[in-house]
């Protein structure tokens, strides 16, 4: 019923356009498309009508309305309608027979059109977490048209500093946290750190650290002035762990390949880590030191092959907190915040692997894994002096100090007693 009325409306509009052109009335000008070519003007004669839409198979409505004035200002007005909608001709239009299952599927299908001009950008996007989520069937993961309205897109990019759109459409709470941060107040946008198209999971790889160092190239030199082992801190401590002083922190122990020098990734369809951890957790709660030891043995079947290890990284427990970066004067500079027993940073531990889609797969571990002598091998790549010290060594130290002081005191006491005894004996002998 609606399809028929749409057809009637479209045909009426086409006739109207033809009549207007014939009479030289400049119908395009009336629709705000003064700069458009004649074909575009023909299209917009109908599609500039507000509320024009098409009902899809699933009952959703596909808007067919294009704001002519906004389109005229967009970068795509230069190429015109036909470049993207090449399959539409006056002979076959409107293609009412085309079956479109859903808005989502239509948008995904249309990315091929974007690729025809923006192939390089699409290639970047295909490697992103957003594309991985789309492939996984996530119904809200963004595709081209979720961030870029093809009829209003401008050259300066899709991001709106004031509202955080389009990122804030999905990451609203993150944007709110970020807007109050030192970077948010400075007017930087999300893509300054996360990049616009090749967005990676924040906790894998070095992309974010490199983003920090990209704008703060002297950061390492500035830290080396006061921070011992600054380079190592840069390696194992995420920037927000110190620069968001109030946030809860944790240690993430990542499976790491010593040969390839990269994080270990779970193979598609072979969830070795996932299966192993699940079976270990069935036995009870978070992973303990023995479980971690067994996990490493699982990944290093050959006893002489220790290519897989665990590398620890101190980061924030909640990703949202990483966006609350504060001015450097407020950052943590007190070493004791981490380097003492019971430090909050070491009360929460996870073990992770990079999942097949690039996102980390994490499981909880008991904080004791950082202090156990059993972890000597399995957690060999992470150690914070004082904060994750091995408790057995504390007892050895107590024994050594007691021995070092106690043995001389005992020896001295026995010598003194013998001296008195010897004097008594000799005194008796004299008498």
């Amino acid at each position: 019923m609606q399809g028929r009325s749409f057809t009637r409306l479209a045909l009426a509009a086409l006739f109207a356009v033809a009549g207007a052109l014939f009479l030289g009335q400049g119908a395009g000008r009336a629709a705000g498309i003064a700069n458009s070519n004649k074909v575009d003007q023909q299209c917009l004669a109908c599609h500039s009508i507000a509320g024009m839409e098409k009902e899809l198979q699933g009952g959703e409505k596909l808007s067919l309305h294009v704001d002519g004035a906004k389109f005229a200002k967009s970068v795509h007005s230069m190429i015109g309608c036909a470049v993207c909608h090449g399959s539409v001709t006056l002979e076959n239009h409107p293609p009412s027979k085309t079956k479109i299952p859903s808005l989502r599927e239509y948008s995904i299908e249309r990315t091929k059109v974007c690729a025809s001009c923006h192939g390089e950008v699409l290639k970047l996007y295909q490697g992103s977490i957003h594309a991985a989520l789309v492939r996984d069937g996530n119904p809200v993961a963004p595709i081209c048209t979720d961030c870029h309205n093809p009829h209003t897109v401008k050259a300066k990019g899709a991001y709106d500093t004031a509202t955080g759109a389009p990122c804030s459409k999905c990451h609203g709470s993150v944007f709110d946290a970020y807007a109050a941060s030192v970077h948010g107040k400075a007017g930087l946008d999300c893509s300054n750190c996360h990049r616009a198209h090749d967005v990676n999971p924040a906790t894998t790889g070095d992309q974010l650290k490199n983003a920090c160092l990209g704008c703060h190239p002297d950061a390492l030199a500035a830290h080396e002035i006061w921070l011992p082992n600054a380079a190592q801190h840069f390696e194992t401590v995420s920037c927000p762990a110190c620069h968001v002083p109030g946030a809860k922190r944790k240690v993430d122990l990542r499976l790491y390949d010593n040969v390839t020098k990269q994080s270990v990734a779970e193979k598609e369809g072979v969830p070795q880590f996932d299966n192993w951890v699940r079976s270990a957790k069935v036995k009870g709660g978070d992973l303990d030191a023995m479980a971690l030891y067994s996990l490493l043995r699982e990944f290093n079947r050959d006893p002489t092959d220790n290519k897989t290890t665990l590398r620890g990284r101190l980061e924030l427990s909640k990703g949202i907190d990483a966006h609350r970066l504060m001015a450097k004067s407020q950052a943590i500079r007190d070493c004791a915040r981490c380097h003492q027993q019971g430090a909050d940073a070491f009360q929460s531990v996870t073990v992770s692997i990079v999942g097949p889609d690039g996102r980390p797969v994490r499981y909880g571990a008991k904080p004791e894994v950082l202090h156990s002598i059993v972890s000597m091998d399995s957690v060999s790549g992470f150690y914070a002096i004082g904060g994750t010290r091995i408790k057995l060594l504390d007892w050895l130290l107590v024994l050594a100090v007691m021995g070092g002081i106690g043995v001389p005191i005992g020896h001295m006491t026995v010598r003194w007693l013998f001296k008195k005894y010897a004097k008594k004996i000799s005194g008796k002998e004299d008498s």
């Binding site: 006061w226 070493c335 019971g342 004082g386 010290r389």
Partner: protein
């Protein structure tokens, strides 16, 4: 009482720098490992001091090494090649410290220019000076700049392994140094050995001898 010159000047300089340095390393080491348990100084101050003193001690070690390598005094470190002879002498020395000293027996070891160490000292100082001290310096340097030496640290099994080796030797010295000081007071007078390490001259009696 006759005196013999057993501690040449370079050895005495090395010894006292080493003594002060090791005590400072123990104090700062305690502070680094147990910040919060006692707070003599800030963690950062302790780390910076620990690093600087560590490098001074490494330099000082080479004074000791060079002196003994390039003089005939190295004979004081020559090991006793007969295990039986060494065992007997060590047993006699242990019996003296564990029993004879209480009765007022004379020290079985007689100090001479080329035999200033008793057999127990000679064994333990070889282990300490040629194994534990270099290992402690080596692990200390690796921990001083973990990033720079990450390749070496990985070969050794990771930063936790290197730190544990460093801490185990620290624990040994935490026990050894008080004993060393006590043993130094077991000469014919309480200050005899300590004074000799200041002057270089050891007073020798017919029936008394070495200690620390």
């Amino acid at each position: 009482m006759p005196r013999i010159y057993v501690h040449p000047l370079p050895v005495r300089i090395w010894h006292w720098i080493n003594a002060l340095g090791f005590v400072a390393m123990l104090v700062t080491g305690f502070q680094i490992r147990y910040i919060g348990l006692f707070d003599l100084m800030s963690f950062r101050t302790a780390v910076v001091l620990h690093n600087w003193i560590g490098f001074v001690l490494i330099g000082n070690f080479f004074i000791w090494l060079a002196f003994y390598l390039f003089t005939d005094k190295i004979r004081v470190y020559h090991p006793e090649l007969s295990p039986m002879k060494h065992f007997r002498a060590s047993f006699r020395q242990a019996m003296f410290y564990g029993y004879g000293i209480f009765k007022g027996d004379p020290n079985p070891h007689h100090v001479s220019v080329y035999q200033k160490f008793n057999s127990m000292q000679s064994m333990s100082y070889q282990v300490i000076m040629l194994m534990l001290v270099p290992l402690q310096f080596y692990t200390g340097v690796l921990l001083w700049d973990v990033s720079r030496f990450s390749g070496m640290i990985d070969v050794l099994g990771g930063v936790r392994v290197v730190d544990t080796a460093h801490v185990l030797i620290f624990i040994f010295f935490a026990g050894f140094i008080p004993m060393h000081i006590y043993l130094a007071t077991l000469g014919h007078t309480r200050m005899a050995h300590i004074r000799s390490m200041l002057t270089g001259y050891e007073e020798v009696e017919e029936e008394h001898g070495a200690g620390a």
